[in-house]
Amino acid sequence: MATTDAGHSATADHSADSHGHDHDHPSYLAHHFDTPEQQFDSGKLGMWIFLVTEVLFFSGMFCAYAIYRSWRPDVFEGCSQFLNTKLGAINTGVLLFSSFTMAWAVRASQLEQHKKTAALIASTLCCAMIFLGVKAIEYSHKWTMGLLPAGLFTYDPSNPHPVGGPNYLAYICAPFAVATVGIFIWLVVSFLRGAKFQFECAKPILVVFLCFFVGVGLGTILESGGSESHGTEHAAHVEGGEHDSHAEGEHAGEGEHAAESHEQEAATEETAEAAPTEAIAGLVAPGTMVSSDNELDVIKRLAADTTNTGLQGELAARQAQNDMANGAITYHVYDDVSATVAAAEENVMRKSRAGVFFSIYYCMTGVHAIHILAGIGVLIWLLVRALRQDFNKNYFGPVDYVGLYWHLVDLIWIYLFPLMYLIR
């Protein structure tokens, strides 16, 4: 460590050197680094690598999306109509703006504009909260309608708004409400006790938490505006009076539309049904799989030993093969196969098709929302440090790193929005 020049530490305040080494370490420089540059570069590289892992983490879900969408384009297109484009677009805008304030905050911290840094970080936080508020409206509404992951999917096109379910919006808002009240109490107490710094911290944080409810309000208002496409295109199909009043916009016609896409689904199912049957028919085409008599005899002889259960099965299969090949039971077998396929489609797979779209939707947006929450936690920590004026032109790493993270979270949403909401 003595090998590097101490020039960089010249501007910084010097802390008591706890480990007794022979050169100056500014207080923000960790003991194992030689220079602020080294510390900054390490942090930045670490953050970039972390972002790579985040991208890979999401890439698993993007793969799942690609796979299932290519298998079931109709389902994805149909189900996507249930998402409210307007809310999605607003959230995209909000996140983009938050990236802008974040980038500005980095610049402000480099210029040692402490007040501005704090204000910009707080704006970023406000945007994050508005995003979550809007998301709460989106989620709670879908849950009420039963638009849930495959296993829990209960949506019924003839009754899209079952009455009397739990109030999901209240559940989502409750923790935020509790936190807001807590922060308000903190604000009052710190004011009364004259704890100036705490008061200074509590003020912006309270605003930030209130923004969640701004988001909820915004979502509620916009939601009734509706997602344009099926609002207009399919308006003709709406049978008046079928929907309760608050829901005009988003699901104007969605019952219809859903029904329509279910029809489409059913149609493709028929073709899908035909295909495996044909394939199976091809497999057992006459002559291809006849066992030679010799072989069959040997198996028969061995299978005479009834304890040999494996061979019993083998024998049955061989005989069936032969019968099919000879044309003896051909049609019977074909019927069987298509009946099995049809039964499987009917009983097992059909009900869950739309659910898979929503599974992927919830997994992707849910994990994204968790990242927003984590970002909010880190940004609050950053806000407090900014208010404490921790950052200067030699030490602004944390703002920079959190900024990078925040841009990634934003970027992921920019992919999610078209992939989920804008499928046509």
């Binding site: 985040e54 698993g60 879900m61 098709r353 599974s359």
Partner: protein, 589 residues
């Protein structure tokens, strides 16, 4: 090399500064100073203790497996004791849970963190000449994540066991009523522990190299660690999301992997092996690094083909991402896909082979000392070669149709993971033990342990190749009597292997109490970790070390008088312009 003295015309280079009084083990005391330490060496030691405990547990489970397979109808778990222990479980259920937990604990809790986290943490900064890793707090948190993951596994074991196999294949894992969620949560957390370690090492090696430590002056262990870290960072997140989706599948039936809800189990297999094939290189690459050091140091000869070994590590790290499909040849992927994966699988064996040839060339005409680490290193070359070559049998489509899911696969991966990684781990522990704890162990005892481990291992797993190629499927609690002889052989081998490991443990533990004090450089090595005292001081280096060629043994000489290796330099009349204080070699004790 072992006997000698300073040749005429040379003198011992003066290390120039005194031995520090305290080392990293003694500079602070009390349990809490360990729990909250940020010192990479202490974290490494805690990992060492942790992974050894995990190995002990999983090893006992393995003995359980082998003892059950002692007889065709099963033996151990048929015992009355198990009826009392788990009254509602049939012997076969117990067997399934034991082999699952054995595999899962060995893979996630032992092998993956063994060399990178335990030895890597101790060695990477010291070998590099740095004071610590780039993010000491992240380092400590990754250790605690490891502990948390271990707790989850223990809870899974105590709750209702786990019987999916370590691969958690769907749809079985979404339907079985054992503790899949606890175990996958554990593996998820361990994934983050592994990611953080990898991230830390990449940044450390990129930004913390002292002046003079260029990329191509780095010891090969660091190259290996670097490549391993790349895999850890790139592959583990995919495991994370896969396990998360699996948990969601079990709790909410998201229908991505579960065919009952229109999902596709083969997609799960793709996701899982996209991580887990690269993960086998997380297990073996650090072992390659260890062997490169061991072979060179104990042959007292410059490593042959330094750049080839370094680049082949990176090549393995990258190629390893392209071959996951070879675990799914029989899962119905389509013939073109299987052919491509098969061809890619062959390419990945090339860099491994390059390393083996380089090690052999290093030993050729070297001054080999058959120390304990060298015994393990030679055992490694032998066993890994068998393991790697049998991998090619499995990578060949036609033969894999027959061998897939048989004991041949079991034998293959034990040859690479136990014969490879574990043996290298043991070699590494014996090699760096004097540095870590400042004590020499009993050489003869160590050599005996290496021989017993080698024999026991082969007795256990060679018969399994035969069993597998004759059609014995893996993961079965009972088997046809025709396999009885080979299975019994394998069980005896496992007991012998256990004895060998016990001997190694005893030798090491006894050394802590009775061992001679270790000199700074007991093996005559040239890498930087031997330039500081044994054990190293808290800050690793009293002065910034002078970085030299890590494999230059010419100026290291056994000094019979002081019974240690010393660095020598030509005698000079006048004071050389270079300050003596810059010498990296400390005097021993």
């Amino acid at each position: 090399m072992s006997v000698g003295s300073v040749p005429a015309g040379y003198e011992v280079k003066d290390p120039g500064y005194p031995t520090p009084e305290e080392n990293y083990l003694t500079n602070s005391r009390g349990l809490l100073t360990w729990v909250f330490t940020l010192d990479h060496k202490r974290i490494g030691v805690m990992y060492l203790v942790g992974v050894s405990l995990a190995f002990l547990i999983a090893g006992l489970l393995a003995l359980g497996i082998r003892l059950h397979l002692f007889a065709p109808d099963g033996w151990l778990f048929n015992n009355e004791f198990f009826k009392w222990l788990a009254p509602d479980k049939a012997p076969n259920d117990i067997y399934n849970q034991v082999f699952t937990l054995h595999g899962a604990i060995m893979v996630f809790l032992f092998i993956i963190p063994s060399i990178p986290a335990a030895l890597g943490n101790f060695l990477v900064p010291v070998m590099l000449g740095a004071k610590d890793v780039a993010f000491p707090r992240l380092n400590l948190s990754s250790f605690f994540l490891w502990v948390a993951g271990a707790v989850f596994f223990v809870m899974a074991l105590l709750a209702s066991g786990l019987d999916t196999g370590w691969t958690f294949y769907t749809p079985y894992s979404t339907t079985t009523d054992t503790s899949v969620i606890l175990a996958t949560s554990g593996a998820f957390i361990l994934g983050f522990s592994s990611i953080f370690t990898g991230l830390n090492f990449i940044v450390t090696i990129n930004t913390m190299r002292p002046p003079g430590m260029t990329w191509f002056r780095m010891p090969l262990f660091l190259w290996a660690t670097y490549s391993t870290s790349i895999i850890q960072v790139l592959a583990t997140p995919v495991l994370g999301i896969t396990l998360l989706l699996l948990i969601a599948e079990r709790t909410m039936h998201i229908g991505i992997f579960d065919p009952e809800y229109n999902g596709d189990p083969v997609t799960y297999q793709h996701f899982f092996w996209f991580y887990s094939h690269p993960a086998v290189y997380i297990m073996i690459l650090p072992a390659f690094g260890v062997i490169s050091e061991l072979i060179s140091v104990h042959s007292h000869k410059r490593i042959f083909g330094y750049r080839f070994i370094a680049y082949s590590s990176i090549a393995i790290a990258l190629l390893g991402f392209l071959v996951w499909g070879h675990h799914m040849f029989t899962a119905g992927m389509g013939s073109m896909t299987t052919i491509i994966f098969s061809a890619l699988t062959f390419t990945v064996s090339v860099p491994s082979a390059i390393k083996v040839f380089n090690w052999l060339a290093t030993m050729y005409k070297g001054a080999i000392t058959m120390t304990t680490p060298m015994c393990y290193a030679i055992a490694f070359i032998f066993l890994f070669t068998i393991g790697g070559l049998t991998g090619l049998h499995l990578g060949t489509l036609a033969t894999d149709m027959h061998l897939h899911d048989t004991y041949f696969v079991v034998a293959h991966f034990h040859y690479v993971m136990v014969g490879g990684t574990l043996v290298a781990f043991l070699g590494a522990v014996f090699h760096w033990w004097p540095k870590m704890f400042g004590r020499m162990y009993n050489e003869l005892g160590g050599q005996i342990s290496a021989v017993i481990v080698f024999l026991g291992f082969n007795l256990t797993f060679l018969p399994q190749f035969v069993l597998g190629s004759r059609g014995m499927p893996r993961r079965y609690a009972t088997y046809d009597p025709e396999f009885a002889g080979l299975h019994a052989m394998s069980t005896w081998g496992a007991l012998l292997l256990g004895i060998g490991l016990l001997v190694a443990l005893v030798v090491l533990l006894v050394s802590l109490v009775k061992g001679k004090k270790a000199p700074a450089n007991p093996w005559g090595a040239a890498t930087l970790e031997w330039a500081c005292t044994s054990p190293p001081p808290f800050y690793n280096f009293e002065r910034p070390p002078v970085v030299g060629d890590p494999y230059e043994f010419g100026d290291i000489q056994w000094d019979a008088a002081s019974e240690r290796y010393v660095k020598i330099e030509p005698k000079r009349e006048t004071v050389p312009s270079e300050k003596p204080a810059e010498s990296p070699a400390h005097a021993g004790e």
